[in-house]
Symmetry: C2
Subunit: 266 residues, 2 copies
Amino acid sequence: VKAAIQKICIIGAGNVAWHLGQHAHAQGLEVAQVFSREIAKAEALAQLIGAKALTELSILDPRADLYLLLVKDDAIDEVAARLKDSLPADALVCHGSGATDLAVLHKHFQHCGVFYPLQSFSKNRSLDFYKQVPLCVEATEKAAENLLLDLAKKLSRQAALVSSEQRFTLHLGAVFVNNFVNKLYAVAEGLLIEKDLPFDLLLPLIQETAAKVQDHSPFEMQTGPARRGDLEIQKKQLHSLDKDARWQLIYGMMSRFIAQDYGKGA
Amino acid sequence: VKAAIQKICIIGAGNVAWHLGQHAHAQGLEVAQVFSREIAKAEALAQLIGAKALTELSILDPRADLYLLLVKDDAIDEVAARLKDSLPADALVCHGSGATDLAVLHKHFQHCGVFYPLQSFSKNRSLDFYKQVPLCVEATEKAAENLLLDLAKKLSRQAALVSSEQRFTLHLGAVFVNNFVNKLYAVAEGLLIEKDLPFDLLLPLIQETAAKVQDHSPFEMQTGPARRGDLEIQKKQLHSLDKDARWQLIYGMMSRFIAQDYGKGA
């Protein structure tokens, strides 16, 4: 058993690999190799972090402390199967997915885990990884879990041991606060465009709404017509949405659920 | 017609009066008086900004350049009716509401307008008013509109002329990006609590989701299983929500609308 994870190989060169790879390098870890089927993608990342770019799994360094499998969810199983032939039996392999069970890797590897960065990455947006990316860790045995947790603590101020079942819920929560929230932003953008209004006017409110829950429970921060039980304004607003039945459905449902949760509804 | 608005009286001492009054004072305007039915509330604000606290509308200074009616929506009509008896016929009176038509004031006053700060205020949260509070202005005549717009530009980097119809839409948009978004945060909080997970793990994602749309259209920023058309994970996530039919309804509906808008849906 190693004392600490020092040398890493990254399989994948997408957004997660891009941010995690650069941050690991900046924190003094050795990222020895970056694998991608597309050599240009592997090289773009590798050259930033002093790593070698690979397009063949068979030439992976067999002595890395950790192999990070940062590929799309539906490719994890297949790439893990191929990876198995290139690595020693005691290799430690992790995937970085929120939605994939650890068991998918455990079929192929005895020592394996999950190293899940809970953030939405874009290649052209920089972020402060240490402050803005919680790392959720899980492993098939305690020794590996400790190694991964130590690594996570080095890379993030939010490092947590999270089971596969918990991680599934976290990922689902992320769908609500990221995908669905963004869709509500888009609906509002559409409403404003129809009235020749710049979406910019809502941006400070969007930021403040996100800022308020950084130190308060969203349940306590709830405001608005539904929370107050103001039926007159709700009726007017619902009626004004009659150009798109879908936005009416969202409005009616969200308002009803809010009203119910604050004792104002039926 | 005045050259600029310099002396203001504020009617109301709630969250909007609290923030707007302090900011106007800090920007060098004279806030002469603050009215509230509750003297303690009027005094708490008045003493911060060198104003007099009042509980009688009849002793309002008749020579202020602007009377800001910052009371609850459903009190505007009634307070305006009473206010009329205390002010000269040429007084300029504005309300600060997103949801109330200018006509409600125009019944009582010839010179009137709207001075709507588009933000969600809390008394115990400070914010940078100039950067974080768009001001939406409207008036019954051009001269007053120009005065109000000049004042708005002094107080905010986002000052806009907005009709009552447009303002109604802005306020509706605010319900989506503030009230409904906050409800989604609360749903996610509930999901996490059930699995003994701290809501903190989602906070960086919440901030990043809000940050991304500050310079990109939310329509372009959409990600997630519904956008990708990943039906397998959607099915699993929907199924896992079977403890609360309401969250299943939200999940199903939001996912369907996202899928439809990106050509992945039925």
